[in-house]
Symmetry: C2
Subunit: 351 residues, 2 copies
């Protein structure tokens, strides 16, 4: 392995000079810089990450904690993760992959050992057990998702409340008076996953405001589960003329079942989805949907973090003020009209 000292010798300068060429923290003459660069190139020098981290107390690594369960929103998760990795690299950072399994202690571990300088958390729950750790030990952190109490934390998320409201508005605007919501698996609500509950709140509040009936049913993925839920919905509320789906594994089963039971989309029932664009666009009926901008979320999370991290003293300085600006950044949801929503059948015809 080539070391900095060897580069220095090769270029006929001191070790510190090579270091300054690399970091740009002190002025170096053009001639020297060129020589050093040439030697680096020639010897194929690569700075030792550990040594660097030790000397500078900056590892240039951020940890990304993904949920262990892959029972939910898989494409979204992966998209976010990839966007995080890509964006981080663009800023000279690497990404350490943590699973939810280890829980809060993983945060302490990677952060306390100086392995990672900061963390990004996905799949945040309303009263997430990792939050106390963040508030206390306070490694710089950004949450993708919004907990119940985001005070003092930096969060990025889609404004799911607004997304829910948007769906109801769209359907109510078309004339629907009875809307059914097919939601995530019951477990997701049981865990108090932020986005699911907030969407629901947005749906409910706006439905109440507009005097529209709203029925919410959690739903496991898969054809059979959707069939059961659907049957119960029509049983309880025969007047339902529109669906909001927030569960990517329920989308196709729902469409198939509606078709099979002789309900045309959008003529007989309308469907609006909250899901990533590709899923909505590629569905058997292209779906009117509110997009979940996974990549954008990942990108923003990293950028918040990096912004907070730079301008940071090498060592430890005035401790915690190095964290990213606390605050919640909610992306405005956008509803794209496709083929799956339209006005309901005229009342008279229906009943």
């Amino acid at each position: 392995m080539v070391t900095l000292v060897e580069v220095a010798r090769h270029a006929g300068v001191s070790a510190s000079t090579v270091s300054y060429v690399l970091s740009g923290k002190r002025p170096i003459s053009d001639l020297t810089r060129r020589r050093v660069r040439a030697s680096i190139e020639q010897l194929g020098y690569q700075p030792h990450a550990g040594a660097r981290a030790l000397a500078s107390s900056r590892s240039r690594i951020i940890a990304l904690m993904v949920p262990l369960r892959t029972d939910m929103y898989v494409p979204v998760m992966l998209d976010i993760a990839v966007a995080v990795a890509t964006t981080a690299r663009a800023h000279g950072y690497d990404v350490l992959l943590l699973t939810g399994e280890e829980g809060p202690s993983a945060l302490r571990r990677v952060t306390g050992s100086g392995l990672a300088e900061a963390v990004i958390l996905m799949d945040v729950q309303l009263d997430d057990e990792r939050l106390p750790v963040l508030r206390a030990a306070g490694p710089p952190a950004v949450l993708v998702g919004l907990p119940a109490d985001p005070s003092g934390l930096s969060c990025v998320d889609l404004d799911f409340t607004a997304a829910g409201a948007l769906c109801v508005e769209h359907l109510a605007g078309l004339g629907h008076r009875e809307i059914a919501v097919i939601g995530e698996a019951p477990g997701v609500y049981a865990r108090h996953t932020g986005f699911a509950e907030r969407t629901l709140r947005g749906l409910r509040d706006r439905a109440t405001e507009l005097g529209v009936g709203l029925l919410h049913r959690p739903c496991e993925g898969g054809h059979d589960a959707v069939a059961g839920v659907l049957a119960r919905i029509f049983d309880e509320r025969p007047g339902v003329s529109a669906f909001v789906v927030q569960n990517e594994t329920a989308v196709e089963p729902l469409l198939a079942l509606l078709r099979r039971t002789g309900r045309a989309v959008p003529e007989d029932v309308s469907v609006v989805a909250v899901c990533p664009e590709p899923i909505a666009a590629q569905a058997s009926v292209p779906l009117t949907s509110v997009a979940i901008p996974a990549q954008e979320l990942g990108r923003r999370a990293v950028e918040r973090l990096i912004t907070g991290l730079s301008g940071r003293p090498g060592a430890d300085g005035p401790a915690d003020d190095a964290a990213p600006t606390p605050g919640v950044e909610l992306l405005t949801p956008v509803l794209t009209s496709r083929d799956s929503s339209g006005p309901p059948l005229a009342r008279g015809v229906m009943s």
Copy 2:
């Protein structure tokens, strides 16, 4: 930050003693060990990762390179990644997330800087451009997937050739004489992705052996694309009585389309899928399928790596023989019979 020296002082021993308590590389008396452990606990000591890596030349990090495009087999990829992370942690390693974007140079970077000790590559192509780097500089590596020439490399994969053969055998055994294969997106084949081509070879070879007709069509995801492909298939080969699907985004559309065109599964046509279990089991018709054991693949990959890594000299020793045992480990595919396959209609009835 608490350092080892502080722990030593607190416990009334020397720094090296603390180190040996931690590493177990030299015998330490029970009494001393207890005292040191107590001090560690009490002070909340965490070894500094960088310092450790520097002194020992082992970072205890393995890099995982995931494909940048998330256009394919997303759940499989995420499952593998999560399994890798989990298994690695169980062995005391952390995982660095790399995307395919940086390409071969990323391998050099993380490996040359001592950031990662080893790498796991996913989405390996038959003539992957990253392989030369591995063969040359030779950081310990395990591929999840099988390139055209695996010599000198360590690989783990499902035996997709056997998987293909298995599908054909199953269908031929039921009496089918004309099989259509709905494959991955054309781009996947264009990239010469190993698993796709190997499955195809297995399908073709066994079909030839058994004298069964086989038609292969790549297929983009989404309803419309599947519709087009399906129409062309029936157009070209009206006698097709069975499908093999290797494209998770085509599964539901295919079932929906068959249903809509009045072909019952499995009475009129049989369907066999090559996909993760949950997808097959949750489909609108539970599918006879060959499972892709994503978690198992991730787990094995890590275990191969770790096995190679331990027994490794601290510094660099006799260089490259530290790599994991080269060799290919192919998991035997298992076909699970569900509801989607059965004997074809009697010839006479058909035509």
